[in-house]
């Protein structure tokens, strides 16, 4: 199994080549404003000569490009929103409580019609199909191509969203419809917001993924392209272009998945200490735990599947105030190599403290000799406190956990921490994010209402459907495993109705014969 994994971060674009479960090459290039030329440069920096580059199975890319577009308010497309919930919810129309500037960029028109369901699965109001058709024509006349449909309680019964989407496709030939039930759970506004962000990013996502494909063919690769997702799996490029919000948090997720893979651990807390922040996450069964709470993105309240992360201002570039014994939250960021004391600069950074304490060898140690040993101790104590407090925030019970420390600033994590049984460091943990991208699996998901079946039958049919979706998405059918299954009975609907949610994951199908079974990966040559 040969794959290239690429993680496009804010500062660096990391790439690894994995062969037979081993990281055989790793490179780091600067991230570029257009993202894709950095990706092309990273691929070109890898040695893909016949010996290494032949027979690649997949190219997997994780990017923060889409979430950055929201945060920086660039490249967004205007979206029409149809909410199917009248006669309820009308006084809080779509785009309520959005930052004004962002709403202006994304709001192409809002429409509300009757329809939707109640919490118990009963119909709330008859679907206004005539109204839907009238609105579809209006949207066509407005020249809008991206439409969101959000129906009352659609996570329990998506049929109204699907019916309106079908009408839109009939009336607007090249329309792109985002159905809100595919993006979030109960919480009408938050789910709608996620769907609007998604629809508004599809044009950018398509453009970006096309550019990735170009970059790929420019360097002569013909392996299929996958994009990493918030949940630690990958989606085929075409699907990723339809659901860009599912790639929002892939950077942090990739680090966690890489940490799990490199350490061989499946249940642990991961801390990724970078230059500016330390990100904490919780690995359960090898995957990041999902946040079950409102997440603000670019000032917009959303509620969809994102990893449960805590980010604090603690990194190798964090500013140190020796007098107050505080760390961060400000950081010198990418200017570390010129501004830190050890590199000849004038800012006291966490890296300087690390060098003074002998935790790491970097730059000119003499330049930090003047820092009093007591001050170094106080800063390290504060650092330890910050780590302990946030590891504790991630835990779900009081018992000790294992902590995997990765990232360039991992030297700031001491061996002993309150509430931590042991600290695990993986060799060359700096490549964890790209490894996480390279080893990502494909998933297949089903979330729908079944009727007239026993619980076991319903879960079995959902699983079968999820498995076929995973195979369709590029999974090897032999490797499929169930990672999630839950069922909720729905009262008032006839025929023993229940909502079943199933997710399976599997390895990407190899295009070559004789693929290697999963092996423990070791980083061997990461620059």
């Amino acid at each position: 199994m040969r794959r290239i994994g690429i993680d496009v971060g804010g500062t660096n674009t990391d790439a690894v080549l994995i062969d037979g479960g081993k990281v055989v090459q790793g490179v780091k290039v600067a991230t570029t404003a257009d993202v894709t030329s950095g990706v092309a440069a990273a691929i070109e920096a890898l040695d893909l000569s016949a010996e290494h580059g032949s027979g690649l199975d997949a190219l997997m890319i994780g990017t923060t490009h889409f979430i950055n577009a929201v945060v920086q308010r660039r490249h967004l497309t205007k979206v029409a929103v149809i909410r199917v919930a009248l006669p309820a919810t009308s006084s809080l129309p779509p785009f309520t409580d959005w930052p004004a500037g962002l709403a202006e960029l994304a709001n192409g028109g809002v429409f509300q019609i009757e329809g939707g369901h109640d919490y118990d699965g009963r119909r709330f109001a008859p679907l206004d199909t005539a109204g839907a058709r009238r609105i579809a024509r209006e949207i066509r006349n407005l020249g809008l191509k991206y439409v969101v449909v959000n129906a009352l309680f659609s996570p329990l019964d998506p049929s109204d969203e699907e019916a309106v989407a079908a009408i839109l496709r009939e009336e607007i030939p090249d329309v792109s419809v985002t159905c809100a039930h595919l993006l979030g759970g109960i919480g009408l506004l938050e789910r709608e917001n996620a769907a609007i962000l998604n629809a508004s990013l599809i044009a950018l996502a398509r453009e970006t993924i096309t550019a990735f494909e170009h970059a790929k063919s420019k360097v002569g690769l013909n392996a299929p392209l996958f994009v990493t997702q918030n949940d630690g799996t990958v989606a085929e490029a075409s699907r990723a272009a339809t659901y860009p919000v599912f790639s929002f948090a892939s950077g942090a997720t990739n680090s966690m998945r890489g940490a799990a893979y490199l350490s061989g651990l499946k249940d642990a807390v991961v801390v990724d200490v970078g230059g500016t922040t330390a990100d904490f996450g919780y690995l359960r069964n090898g995957f990041p735990r999902e946040a079950n709470a409102v997440v603000h993105i670019g000032g917009v309240r959303t509620l969809f599947r994102m990893p449960d992360l805590v980010s604090i201002g603690l990194g190798g570039g964090s500013h140190i105030d020796l007098e107050a014994a505080t760390i961060g939250p400000l950081s010198v960021g990418y200017r570390l190599s010129t501004e830190a004391l050890v590199f000849g600069g004038n800012s006291v950074t966490a890296t300087d403290i690390g060098v003074a304490a002998g935790l790491i060898e970097l730059g000119d140690r003499k330049r930090v000799a003047h820092i009093a040993a007591d001050d170094v101790k106080r800063i390290l104590r504060r650092c330890k406190q910050m780590l302990e407090e946030n590891v504790d925030r991630m835990k779900t019970s009081a018992s000790d956990i294992t902590l995997i420390a990765v990232g360039g600033g991992a030297f700031l994590v001491p061996e002993e921490l309150q509430g931590v049984g042991r600290v695990v460091r993986v060799q060359h943990g700096g490549c964890a994010n790209a490894v996480g991208a390279a080893i990502a699996q494909v998933s297949g998901e089903v979330d729908q209402v079944f009727q007239g079946l026993t619980r076991d039958e319903a879960v079995a049919s959902a699983r079968k459907l999820a498995e076929s979706r995973a195979v369709e998405a590029g999974a090897d059918s032999e490797s499929l495993a169930l990672v999630e299954a839950e069922d909720t009975p729905i009262a008032y609907l006839p025929g023993n109705a229940m909502r079943v949610r199933v997710k399976v994951v599997g390895n990407i199908r190899s295009t070559r014969m004789g693929q290697t079974a999963k092996e423990k990966v070791t980083c061997q040559s990461v620059s």
């Binding site: 919930a85 006669p87 309820a88 919810t89 009308s90 006084s91 809080l92 309520t96 409580d97 109640d118 919490y119 118990d120 709330f124 109001a125 009352l152 309680f153 109960i186 919480g187 009408l188 506004l189 938050e190 709470a293 504790d392 925030r393 991630m394 835990k395 779900t396 019970s397 009081a398």
Partner: protein
Amino acid sequence: MRQLSPEDIEALSVGAWILGTGGGGSPYHALLNLRRFYDAGVRVDLIDPDELDDDDAIAVVSIMGAPLVFQERLVDSTLIARAVSAMEEHLGRKFRAVMAVEIGGGNGMQSLLAAVHLKIPVVDADAMGRAYPEAQMTSFAVGNLAPYPLTSVDPRGNEAIVGKTSSWKWMERVSRKLCTEFGSIVATCKAPRTGAEVKKWAIPHTTSKAINLGRAVAEANRQHADPIAAILKAESGKFLFSGKVVEVERRTTEGFLRGRTFMEGLGDDHGSRIRIDFQNEWIVVWRDGQALVSTPDLICVLDSESGEAIGTETIRYGQRTTVIALPAAPVFLSPRGLDHVGPRAFGYDIDFKSVFCS
């Protein structure tokens, strides 16, 4: 009578959430609705109970239902006004003003939305001084006032009038059934009150209290001062405990969110551990097997850093929390009051002892 400013309504949403004592539903959507009117220049007047004539008719309103449904089937601002109009049609007379049945949580703001549409003032009072889960847990029930009639409306034009019930508990049962049938979210106008009844039995100045709390928090945050100290000072509250959540157990039974949470002390409370039981709202705080504080004293769990209230639905492991008590309305401290809202009304066989008496 005074006009509420835009800052007042923002402060009210913060204060009402604190007075929700863990329940009452988030005021977020009600605030969004109210902001839309305020942005359009509409203002709400707040009237002191003392300004009411004895024979004025006062509407008492609330949104009833399940918090999960609140998140999805968002309540239009017109619905609460419709519940009041339906009552006016039933009674054949107009209301002088509207008041909240509970100041705690989202219902602390719904009376303002009714006021906007009906163009009448909001009474600076409520019947709980906090949030409680059931209809008989009000000062009006303690005062043995009539529990009926009640109107219950949904947005599809389904409207019910409960003409008569033999007790407040029966009103709770019947109105709860209607609510479930209408989709577990309805606007209700409770038994109307006269100006005289409001002056005698309502808990006065609770809207102002919520606004003061919210302003204290905003002011403290502006000055980078401790918001919790500001809350304690604003309402003569009592600090109980500072720590972190180490366990949460939650279950939904009989339409209520029941459970308990454990916290371990930090700082001065290091080494100590408390348990808080809840039924929608925080009910009893235990330390070493002893009740430290219980209903009707207000138990508020706050984020130790921001001072923001934390609800029983959203509290989770690892949160840094500060537990404080605020004084209960005097009407609940009588033996009759305690029958309605004391620990025994929630199934705890303990005597109520206020933390503000010792």
